[in-house]
């Protein structure tokens, strides 16, 4: 079925991860910074599944499963923090969030 070489998937994964890093550095909005983290996680998931496929082992898929679960938990807590930040600072720009205490 899959005649596409595994290395293609790995390259795509690397490119996506790189773009995620670029987005993480470039973005100024807290929410979009958060989104770039999700992009990086997705890129890594692709690599995991490609390797799982290559070695015909389930562990890669199990890891992806856990990554998705943890990402869901992380999104819930992270977005709650974002909402709190927005309430206290009236802004979502990362540059305004420059002190540890309100």
């Amino acid at each position: 079925m899959s005649v596409v070489p595994i290395s293609y998937y790995l390259v795509l994964s690397a490119v996506l991860f790189g773009l995620g890093v670029v987005a993480f550095v470039f973005k100024r909005n807290v929410i979009t910074i958060f989104m770039s983290i999700e992009l990086m996680l997705n890129a890594i998931n692709l690599a995991f599944i490609a390797f799982a496929r290559a070695h015909n082992q389930m562990d890669g898929l199990v890891f992806v499963f856990f990554v998705i679960v943890v990402a869901a938990a992380e999104a819930a807590v992270g977005l709650a923090i974002v909402i709190m930040l927005a309430r206290h600072r009236q802004s979502l720009s990362a540059e305004r969030i420059n002190s540890l205490k309100f």
């Binding site: 079925m1 899959s2 005649v3 596409v4 070489p5 595994i6 290395s7 293609y8 998937y9 790995l10 390259v11 795509l12 690397a14 490119v15 996506l16 991860f17 790189g18 773009l19 995620g20 670029v22 973005k27 100024r28 909005n29 929410i31 979009t32 958060f34 989104m35 999700e38 992009l39 997705n42 998931n45 692709l46 599944i49 799982a52 496929r53 290559a54 015909n56 389930m58 898929l61 199990v62 992806v64 499963f65 856990f66 998705i68 679960v69 943890v70 990402a71 869901a72 938990a73 999104a75 819930a76 807590v77 977005l79 709650a80 923090i81 974002v82 909402i83 709190m84 979502l92 720009s93």
Partner: protein, 169 residues
């Protein structure tokens, strides 16, 4: 050229396009939409790799729950377009090219990585190897403890989110 190749290139293109749009987009909602595009393209790639279950979970959890949460938060906070500032000179002329060099270096290494010639070409892999049945067996036999631990993690996350987002009475 056969069907899997065509599908792979379409999805890869869409995924990269989505990621680039995520960087370019000024409106947070547009960024969220492009990220959803990436996730759907990746789900199709997972299908191509034979990981049906993960593909479904990817759309169900990532695109259907996490990103909905993002979109909702953006709408609640009415997040306006991002402000842009100019790059510093150094960042523009040195940082950006170096970043791209790094990106392509990683891609190059991965492409030539020693995953073994058999594995790299995709030959010799059984067709329906990654069945949902095997995955569940693995998950509930070897990884039972981590699986149970994630349920606590989610419980804690729910409580944490509630406490954080609650308005003070």
């Amino acid at each position: 050229m056969n069907l899997p190749f065509i599908l792979f290139f379409i999805c890869a293109l869409l995924a990269v396009l989505g990621a680039v749009l995520l960087i370019i987009a000024r409106e947070p909602i547009h960024a969220a939409l492009s990220l959803i595009l990436v996730m759907i393209a990746l789900a199709v790639l997972y299908l191509l790799l034979g990981a049906e279950f993960i593909a479904a979970v990817q759309i169900l959890v990532y695109a259907g729950a996490i990103m909905v949460l993002f979109v909702t938060v953006i709408m609640v906070l009415n997040a306006e377009a991002e402000e842009r500032t100019d790059f510093s000179k150094i960042a523009k002329w040195v940082g950006l090219p170096l970043g791209f060099v790094l990106l392509f270096a990683i891609a190059h290494w991965l492409y030539r990585a020693h995953v073994g010639p058999v594995v790299a070409s995709g030959a010799g892999i059984p067709a329906h190897a990654l069945s949902t049945w095997d995955l569940s067996t693995e998950l509930f036999r070897h990884y039972l403890f981590p699986f149970e631990a994630t349920s606590f993690l989610i419980l804690i996350a729910v409580l944490g989110a509630m406490i954080l987002a609650r308005r003070d009475e």
